[in-house]
């Protein structure tokens, strides 16, 4: 529906890396016993993906399964599909103890791309972002300066970062500052 807008309304910035709002995406918090075959099946039916391992992100064409904690996943799908996907999960897990809840609107979803992407994040996240340590498909929940954030790296070298909606401006301005030309560190080169 056209009334629904992301907090950053598609903002972008080109510094020594590119920061861009990825707009609204469907996001579902799924809590349950990740080792159970029922939950695995539910993830499969919801996203077409397998069960991500610890600190791992699995992604498909327009879906993703992200490992949040030993009993929690974040599943992604197109924004308009959330209700249908939750229904699939509820069907697959009928009779099980689980929680599937829509958090699509509680989040801001950013993309950080370009050669300097690792450095932009390494200025604000206490994570070893060197190419040998942080490889595509890895997912990390961490602190980004003064707010919580989570991100994963895709095969093309871009980071996909999720944070809360209310601090969208802070997160965007923070990454913008981090990516400002002249601030290249030359550490991962």
């Amino acid at each position: 529906m056209s009334n629904a807008v992301s907090a950053l309304a598609g903002a972008s910035y080109d510094g020594f890396a590119r920061i861009e709002d990825q707009g609204l995406h469907g996001m579902i918090t799924l809590r349950g016993d990740l080792a159970s075959k029922e939950v695995k099946a539910a993830v499969k039916s919801a996203t077409g993906l397998g069960m991500p391992g610890q600190r791992q992100a699995l992604s498909g064409k327009d879906t993703a399964a992200l490992w949040m904690s030993p009993d929690e996943l974040l599943l992604m799908c197109p924004y308009g599909d959330v209700a249908a996907v939750i229904e699939k999960i509820e069907t697959a897990l009928a009779g099980q103890h689980f929680l599937a809840v829509n958090v699509s609107d509680a989040r801001t979803f950013l993309r950080i791309s370009g050669a300097g992407a690792r450095e932009v994040l390494a200025k604000v996240c206490p994570v070893d972002l060197s190419p040998e340590a942080f490889t595509p498909g890895m997912f990390r929940r961490t602190r980004m300066a003064q707010v919580p954030a989570a991100f994963w790296l895709d095969e093309a070298g871009a980071f996909h970062l999720i944070c809360f909606r209310s601090i969208a401006d802070y997160a965007f301005n923070l990454l913008k500052t981090s990516a400002k030309p002249g601030g290249e560190v030359g550490y991962f080169a």
Binding site: A7, H97, D105, I167, Y170, Y187
Partner: protein, 1003 residues
């Protein structure tokens, strides 16, 4: 005078002149100069005044240890005080001003303190200013504040940007001298990830100045080759102009990189704070030369022998034409030999050792330099500049044997390893009597998480004396660090450094050793803080025997240089005064940072719009566009009210309330916490969390609940909605959303781990708008076809509906006493819903109201507010909320605590309404007085105001408060003192001021 030599200056680009100013005077240096070398090249020896006596101060050192030469750098948005000229690289346009003098550097009124020096001994301030007591606040403190502080605080906003960077390494090497480079290379060859920090702009440390060979070639060749190798290795990061500032627990270290200090024209962050996590840390931080304590050792022109050598070799600067060298070791001879070879005069070398020096002394004599063994300086002649020295026997009391004219004195009292970074995290030291210094005790390193040491000191920082020992030690350190981080070091042989054949040093803590009080009073230990040998001795006599006490009493080592030159000499004097060995006295504590780092670097990017995160609701933009006056609520900014034009906040609040009670108001309630609790045990769980019964709530219904801590104190409240059999939605206060979610997870994960309950914090998933007032239903009916009539959606019910085409949920709850619906939509629709409600409500004069309107309306209804009526010490019973405490439940969090005798005490103050007799508004937080005084002579009290407002509905001040026996004293009048000294009389009344029967919401 000091001047630039025709030759020399290995770090200079003499083809490039650089212009700068000192106290407005236009001066010229070369690219490659430090501000110190450029000042000396311009004969600017006098650079500042000392802190206490305003003594003239000249440059003493050539590096980070400099105590004297600190200046204000830059102007306006780039002004920074207390910058060491020795670590400031020269750039075109640099502007420096000297500090701590008035009216001018050359003529300073404060220097009169020096004449009074004998009346200002150690502890002078403590002794002088303690009596009479009132004088401290009104006379002494203002005077001292005026005189205190070296530099001036900047007045403008900092014009630069700063940042942090997180780095991870197997091995962090701090120090890019010979030792650091060799250990880095050896560690890196094992495949370990290595990072090397060097505080200066140059690699190799002192070695190029001090000379020597590695594997038969000059040491410079070794440095160049090693740097080239390291640069080629992908697993090595080299950062110069980056000081290792501190070492902390678990291999954490801070690096302080100065990116544009030397090149302010660059559009780049000025400083970058490296936050490094390393497996092993090698401290190759070198050593610092010690001054000698003789009378007049603070007169400009007296310098460390190594610094005199540095200025000559690195910058082609001579400190004077005639330099007297005074030493207790062989190293200072290098200075004499260097100067002599540059054609400068060395009138004499005074060697305090009766037996004299070794091979270097022979070399000096061969150059024709006069060497006097067993001799010392009795005193230095001169005021703002050295003019000569009086010579005496070191063994005597200072009887002058001869006076020699000179314009510089190069002194060396031996070398102290830089053990700071080793010590920051608990590394212990051992006293090396032979070399008269503390060095790291390799058996007591700082311990990491595994219980093993994680810091290795190497090279001169580990007490190594020459290139041979340094390189062997550094090679071993590199291998050890590689091994400790799980790598296999190469078994290659260490490079062979040249050994030096030096005669043993003789510890000299006072010169001459029997110096009388007149000499000791002029023998400076701490140049910046004006602490002399006599001060430390006095402190010892007065009982300040611990080195930490003596430090604070005398201020030894408390200046901006943190005693890098003075500490060892000072504690040796203290030991002597206490007649105990130096190791028994010990050192003061070494704390990070190694040298001061900028506060801005610590703040990093957190300034201006990203100083701290501000949480914004989906409707925040509208609030901003419509003149909201915001107030902080946690990290949120919520509209307090929406003043129109020149309207006062109070008038705006009254208008918003009148409109809401009269027709229709809107509140952005999106910040309220919303937590989903789901599972077969969800009801049981909520029964434990809330004081009242939640498991009996029917799907589709809402119930107000109270949450207490284990200690029984009320911590949060809110409305719980039952979504289905297994699922509840718990509303919390705005400030409680995260902490209550954490509280729930704490109990679920740590105590009731076998209960089948999951929670999720969905606070930000929804925009929530309270639609409030007699027209609330009418306006919503314009936007929905769902049944929200009095029966279709009764009070304390909720319902999913479609509103203005949006998926919405309406909760029929009221915090204002009005007919009220809280409408939740996905946050992405929040602004669209707000706009739709404004449009639909226009015919009723709809107005948004802010948090103050919300507060006043709830107070008119006697509803409590967490944080106003509660402060962490209040229990529900204090608030007469027994109705919200289930009697049927066996247990809930806080139940047993509330049965404790003090909690059940009938004398606990209880909630009542307060009405001023004169209609005025009570001061917030004010106390009601009672008869008599307590043991402290304070008035007894019988209650306090918890909430107080002007009620536009009632046209008078209303308040709530906690009062002794309050509910039993309806109609009593109590007295409440005001801040201005007056007293307000207030009547105790029912806290429900308005619509006691709830007729307005039950429609």
């Amino acid at each position: 005078m000091s001047t630039r030599l025709a030759t020399g200056g290995r770090l200079l680009d003499k083809a490039r002149a650089v212009n700068f100013t000192f106290n407005g005077k236009r001066l010229r240096g070369h690219a490659g100069d430090t501000l110190a070398s450029a000042l000396l090249a311009n004969d600017q020896m006098l650079v500042g005044r000392s802190f206490k006596y305003h003594r003239p101060r000249g440059i003493v050192a050539s590096g980070a240890e400099e105590p004297n030469a600190i200046v204000g750098l830059g102007t306006g948005a780039r002004f920074e005080p207390n910058q060491r000229v020795t670590t400031t690289e020269l750039f075109d346009g640099l502007s420096a001003t000297s500090q701590n003098h008035w009216p001018s550097l050359d003529f300073d009124v404060g220097a009169v303190n020096a004449k009074l020096g004998r009346f200002m001994p150690a502890g002078f301030y403590y002794k002088m200013f303690i009596h009479p007591r009132p004088f401290w606040k009104h006379v002494y403190e203002p005077f001292i504040r005026q005189a205190a502080g070296l530099g001036k605080a900047p007045k403008d906003r900092d014009g630069d940007r700063y940042e942090h960077f997180y780095a991870f390494a197997d091995v962090l090497v701090i120090g890019g001298g010979v030792a650091g480079l060799q250990s880095a290379l050896r560690a890196a060859q094992s495949g370990a990830k290595v990072m090397v920090l060097e505080q200066t702009a140059h690699w190799g440390g002192r070695a190029p100045v001090d000379g020597g060979t590695v594997d038969g070639a000059p040491v410079e060749a070794f440095i160049d080759a090693t740097i080239a190798k390291l640069q080629d290795m992908p697993n090595v990061t080299l950062r110069n102009r980056c000081m290792g500032a501190g070492v902390y627990d678990h291999g954490y270290a801070l690096g302080y990189e100065r990116i544009t200090d030397h090149a302010p024209e660059l559009d780049a962050p000025r400083h970058r704070l490296w936050r490094i996590r390393a497996g092993q840390i090698i401290t190759a931080t070198g050593a610092i030369e010690r001054p000698l304590s003789f009378a007049g050792n603070d007169i400009p022109g007296v310098m460390l022998a190594s610094a005199v050598r540095d200025y000559a070799v690195n910058y082609g600067v001579s400190i004077g034409d005639r330099t007297v060298v005074v030493t207790n070791n062989d190293d200072a001879y290098r200075t004499a030999i260097t100067l002599k070879s540059l054609g400068l005069d060395i009138p004499v070398i005074l060697d305090a050792r009766a037996s004299g020096g070794g091979a270097l002394a022979d070399e000096a004599r061969a150059l024709g330099i006069r060497v006097e063994n067993g001799k010392a300086i009795a005193s230095v002649k001169g005021g703002k500049r050295v003019t000569g020295v009086a010579i005496c026997a070191q063994a005597g009391e200072g009887a002058v044997l001869e006076e020699i004219k000179c314009d510089a004195v190069a002194m060396s009292g031996g070398w102290s390893p830089v053990v700071h970074l080793w010590s920051h995290c608990g590394g212990k030291l051992t006293w090396d009597a032979e070399r008269a210094h503390f060095r790291p005790d390799p058996t007591k390193p700082p311990l990491g998480a595994s219980g093993e040491g994680f810091v290795i000191a190497t090279g001169a920082a580990n007490g190594a004396a020459d290139l041979a020992t340094t390189l062997a030690d550094a090679d071993a350190a590199g291998k050890a660090a590689a091994k400790a981080t799980g790598h296999k070091p190469k078994s290659a042989a260490a490079p062979q450094g040249s050994a030096s054949d030096e005669a043993p040093l003789m510890p000299v803590w006072l010169m001459p050793q029997g110096a009388g009080i007149n000499l000791r009073m002029k023998s400076w230990l701490d140049y910046q803080n004006d602490v002399k040998v006599s001060d430390v001795q006095l402190a010892a006599r007065e009982g300040f025997e611990s080195v930490e006490h003596a430090k604070r009493y005398t201020t030894l080592g408390m200046a901006t240089d943190q005693g890098k030159l003075s500490n060892i000499n000072g504690l040796a004097i203290l030991s002597d005064a206490l007649n105990q060995p130096i190791p028994q006295t010990g050192t003061t504590t070494f704390r990070p940072p190694y040298t001061p780092i900028s506060l801005a670097a610590i703040g990093g990017e957190a300034r201006d719009e990203i100083f701290q995160p501000l949480r914004k609701t989906p409707i925040h933009g509208w609030h901003e566009d419509n003149g909201a006056h915001f107030e902080p609520v946690g990290q949120w900014r919520r509209p307090y009210c929406f003043p129109k034009g020149e309207e006062s906040h109070r008038d705006a609040v009254s208008r918003e309330i009148n409109q809401t009670r009269g027709a229709l108001g809107l509140l952005d309630a999106s910040t309220l916490g919303k937590i989903i609790v789901k599972g077969p045990d969800a009801g049981k769980f909520l029964d434990m969390l809330y004081t009242n019964m939640m498991s009996t709530l029917k799907p589709g219904r809402c119930r107000y609940g109270l949450m207490c801590s284990e200690n029984g104190f009320l911590m949060d409240d809110g409305v719980v909605a039952r979504i289905d059999d297994d699922t509840f939605l718990c509303h919390t206060t705005t400030g409680g959303a995260e902490s209550i979610h954490g509280h729930m997870e704490d109990w679920l994960q740590c105590e009731w781990w076998d209960w089948k309950v999951y929670t999720a914090n969905v606070t930000e998933q929804y925009a929530q708008i309270a639609v409030v007032g007699p027209k609330a239903r009418t306006v919503l009916e314009k936007l929905t076809s769902d049944d929200i009539s009095a029966d279709g959606l009764s009070f304390m019910g909720w319902k999913d509906l479609t509103l203005a085409g949006m998926p919405a949920r309406a909760y029929r709850i009221s915090f204002s006493g009005e007919l009220s619906y809280e409408i939740a939509v996905p946050a992405s629709y929040g602004r669209a819903l707000w706009d739709a409600l404004l449009e639909a409500g226009a015919e009723f004069g709809v107005m948004p109201y802010g948090t103050e309107g919300l507060h006043v309306m709830r107070a008119e209804k006697g509803f409590i507010m967490i944080g106003d009526e509660t402060d962490g010490t209040v229990i529900p019973q204090d608030l007469n909320m027994q109705w919200a405490i289930s009697k049927k439940k066996d247990d809930y969090l806080g139940k047993r605590a509330q049965e404790r005798s003090h909690m059940a005490d009938p004398n606990r103050w209880k909630l009542v309404g307060l009405e001023t007799l004169d209609g005025s508004v009570l001061p917030d937080g004010a106390y009601a007085t009672a008869a008599g005084h307590n043991a402290n002579g304070q008035r007894e009290t019988q209650g306090r105001v918890t909430s107080t407002y002007y009620s536009p509905t009632l046209g008078r001040g209303i308040a709530m408060g906690l009062v002794l026996d309050g509910p039993d004293r309806m109609g009593d009048v109590i007295e409440i003192p005001k801040v201005d000294g007056g007293i307000v009389k207030a009547k105790i009344v029912d806290p429900i001021f308005f619509d006691k029967d709830g007729e307005k919401q039950n429609v």
